[in-house]
């Protein structure tokens, strides 16, 4: 599928039946705002993103929408490096720390639901790689 503009994706809708792209689309617009603010007019080579498993963000959809959102902008050649963080809980019953296979909040060892999430809720831009300061963007 070749996406030519934002409305093409928007028309695909965002409903409860599937993980369609509009969620990631608006997220990518927010990300582009953050990147532009930190880039200070310099060309951005790549953006490093950390996404937790307990977030409802699909990395493939994020990459797809990043490209779509940034078409015809100074960020159009900027790549997205996604670091996916597994969910991890600490169990109040058995005191164990466990990486979760599924986003269910119970201890894989003892079955207790007295757990606290210690990883997997991250969703942030950790860093950006900028080109030479002498090379300004066009935008």
């Amino acid at each position: 599928m070749i996406v030519t503009d934002r409305s093409t994706i928007a028309a695909s809708g965002c409903d409860t039946n599937g993980r369609l792209a509009v969620h990631e689309l608006s997220i990518c617009a927010s990300m582009a705002d953050i990147v532009r603010r930190h880039a200070d007019g310099r060309r951005v080579l790549s953006v490093q993103v950390r996404v937790g498993q307990l977030r409802q963000v699909v990395p493939e959809a994020l990459s797809f929408c990043w490209t779509a959102v940034n078409q015809q902008t100074p960020l159009m050649d900027t790549t997205l490096d996604i670091e996916y963080i597994p969910g991890e809980i600490e169990c109040g019953a058995c005191q164990g720390r466990q990486v979760l296979a599924d986003p269910f909040l119970c201890c894989p060892s003892c079955g207790s639901t007295d757990v606290s999430v210690v990883a997997g809720e991250e969703f942030l831009i950790t860093s950006i790689d900028l080109a030479d300061p002498g090379e300004a963007t066009e935008g």
Partner: protein, 274 residues
Amino acid sequence: MGRFHRHEDGTVHQHHPADAAHHQHEAGDHSGYGTGAERVQVLEAIFSENDRHAAANRDEFDAAGVRVVNLMSSPGAGKTLLLRETLRQLSGGLRIGVLEGDIETSLDADRLEGFGAAVALVNTGQGFGGECHLDAPMVRSALSRLPLAELDLLLVENVGNLVCPAEFTVGEHARAMVYAITEGEEKPLKYPVMFRSVDIVLINKIDLLPHLDFDLDQFRRNLAAVNPGVTTVELSARTGSGVRHWCDWLTATAATATTATAPSGAGPATDTRR
């Protein structure tokens, strides 16, 4: 180590020339920029912009002494009908405002006319790409159309969707979810972010239970897997049964308006009601 610098807006970066030197040979065509590429540490939450607006909304709600509940569900779960019944049962008691999110139409807002509540509509269609949720700036744009200082409770009816609204706080004090038993038992496992983010789950269309293969105990086990201990109320917006318990929860929520502000998601402590 890296070096810091500060921008006019107060943002502080730490630069890591070593990282950048490592990275510049991995990504793309770097011919012509010598050694100038560098990695800039950002460490900014992707929802930070929305969260800033949400905090401003929250300040405005607290200043006006109004408690705000964000009501979410999938399309067709019965939010609007439940709101009608809620307004009917609470009329004459609480002073209620409704902020109605809808992608294009005023159909839902029209259904809420005549119950003595102040209703403001936010069409999200003009948002970026036809937004499928309310975000904090959208809610902010509608606040001037509501007499906040004269209200005890503001109910925000979000756009019907189980994915996006969970991620975008609008400055609410509590989150409620309408779930219809016609949706199947597995929904909490498919949409854990939404089910985990709420303070109360309203199990709607319970009058249909005898006619469905729905396994209520299985649903409760699935819900407990993602949000152990969440408050639940079984009700039917159509017949009105059970709605009183939800109204009691709302009344208790509104009564906390004068207390210190609680973090997002802090509803009143109530027992699970069956």
